[in-house]
């Protein structure tokens, strides 16, 4: 029997994605695009900040059971260089740009740049970075801060969808605030604060024993699913699921939980993203639905 062809296309705030997969910010670089246009529905480069950032000293990575911890420190070349090099991500897919600032004004300035750049289809606000105007705590620690940034960015980004990427902590309150302040979609969730302790480094005394950073991978998937499930039942704007997608059924789980599209991050280090998409196709064939039908069925 010939397997039924499935339509993988989904819609996200008026942008048509040919598959529901989007790379999570910072996990798919321009040198690794390969056949990205056959796997993903949109491109999403590493988060850009106003000025260049050197990033954190190594070690920056620790493997964990069912995941990994990273502490990269948003290393990037700053917005000017980012825009000079952005063509590398032009693979015929919509381009979503992830931006981060330390103040609402920095976020706004970045959105102003993206507003006038014809290559950029949408902007994702990385709201888990420290807010220097509020003592360095994450923007996501305060719904008011989330609302302030989203509202300011919404104003300077006419005609382009604005996504707010939120942490699990405070997801529901922040989601409601972001929607009321003009966000067009939400990305749930960012990495979860965690620490790795390297007992072998302790014995050898050679490198750092502790690595504090953000946990990603299948270890956080149930947490991310919970956030998507609860938030998508309260807000009217679409939700993009993110956290631990490493198999085709993970994509389906997020869509059943309420996501319109799904980001793949460290799962791509564990599996070839093409394998994840292939498994998702097999799942859709098994249940006899297209991707959009799956998303719409749940949202309805």
């Amino acid at each position: 029997m010939v397997a039924r062809a499935v339509d993988l296309g989904v819609e996200l705030c008026g942008i048509w994605l040919r598959t529901p997969l989007i790379p999570a910010a910072g996990t798919l670089g321009s040198e690794a695009l390969g056949a990205a246009e056959r796997i993903y529905g949109a491109m999403l480069p590493k988060t850009v900040t106003p000025s260049s950032r050197e990033g954190n000293p190594p070690p920056r990575i620790a493997g964990t059971a069912a995941g990994m911890i990273n502490s990269i420190g948003l290393q990037n070349s700053g917005v000017e260089r980012f825009l000079e090099e952005l063509d590398a991500f032009e693979v015929g897919l919509p381009l979503i740009v992830s931006v981060a600032g330390e103040t609402a004004a920095e976020f706004t300035a970045l959105c102003e740049r993206m507003a006038t750049d014809g290559r950029v289809s949408a902007v994702e606000l990385n709201l888990s970075c420290p807010n220097t105007e509020r003592g360095g705590i994450s923007f996501c620690a305060s719904p008011e801060a989330v609302g302030e940034v989203v509202a300011a960015c919404r104003e300077v980004l006419p005609g382009k969808p604005l996504l707010a990427k939120l942490t699990f902590d405070g997801a529901l309150r922040n989601a409601v605030e972001a929607e009321e302040s003009g966000a067009d979609a939400l990305t749930l969730i960012n990495t979860v604060p965690a620490i790795a302790v390297d007992v072998h480094a302790f014995k050898g005394g050679e490198r750092d024993v502790f690595l504090r950073g953000g946990l990603s991978g299948p270890a956080i998937k149930p947490i991310a699913l919970r956030a998507v499930y609860e938030v998508s039942r309260v807000v009217k704007i679409p939700v993009v699921g993110c956290g631990g997608v490493a198999r085709g059924t993970d994509v389906a789980e997020f869509m059943l939980a309420g996501a319109s599209a799904v980001q793949v991050g460290s799962g791509r280090y564990y599996r070839d993203a093409a394998e994840i998409l292939g498994e998702f196709v097999a799942y859709l064939q098994e249940i006899g639905m297209n991707a959009r039908e799956l998303a719409d069925r749940v949202r309805a």
């Binding site: 670089g29 050197e54 990575i61 493997g63 990269i72 490493a246 070839d272």
Partner: protein, 245 residues
Amino acid sequence: MKRHRVEVTERIRFGTHHAITYRWTGPAPEPGQFVTAHPDNDALDPFLPRSFYVHDHEGDRVTLLFMVIGPTTRALASEANTLLVSAPLGNGFHPVETSEPLALVGGGALFSPLGLLSRNLAWRKIAHTVYIHNTENASREFVEWVSGRFPGAEMLEIDGPGLTAETAQGYGGVYGSGPHEFLKEVRQTAGAVPCQLALRERMACADGSCWGCAVPVNESTVSTGKKYARSCVDGPVFEAARLAW
């Protein structure tokens, strides 16, 4: 990262030291290149593939050499007949213009990439000496096995006096592979002699995307004077003079 399922053709164990040989018909690895390896199962632990230097390549066989320390290496040291590996990755050792012989300096089991380098140099008829250090904690069988890994070298010295700042002057280049502190010593010993070091940074994506395997390098164009390169695509072999250690 595209993963290839490969057939394990040989496993050699010496206590915690483990050599895996598998069949490989893809692109030939260059000395100093690495592959990522993952057990061929659906388990989520270990989650990240692990990067290993190619220790040897002959015909359609590739050999990796490692010590069994954590969950990943334990899983890879199992009896499985297959393995998931990437194609050879990264920028390895590169030739130096010299008529002098070369020195290859390895620390413990981490001398791994010097095996393929020695094979390559012997094939190109370039004289070289191999110094292996810090095998005190290894079994006698492992040390005997190591002594047979460099048939093309002019001389192989295991746990001898080693390369000194003085003897280094007689070489046209020094190639090092070993633990971080060991490589610092190799760089110091090499002095002004061109020196390339095979680094071992923790990697996640292994394709330049995540910036996890950051290596501090000297770049005068950056105001801070310090900048990070990526071990996976800018290395994993670096000119010693470029490293901001």
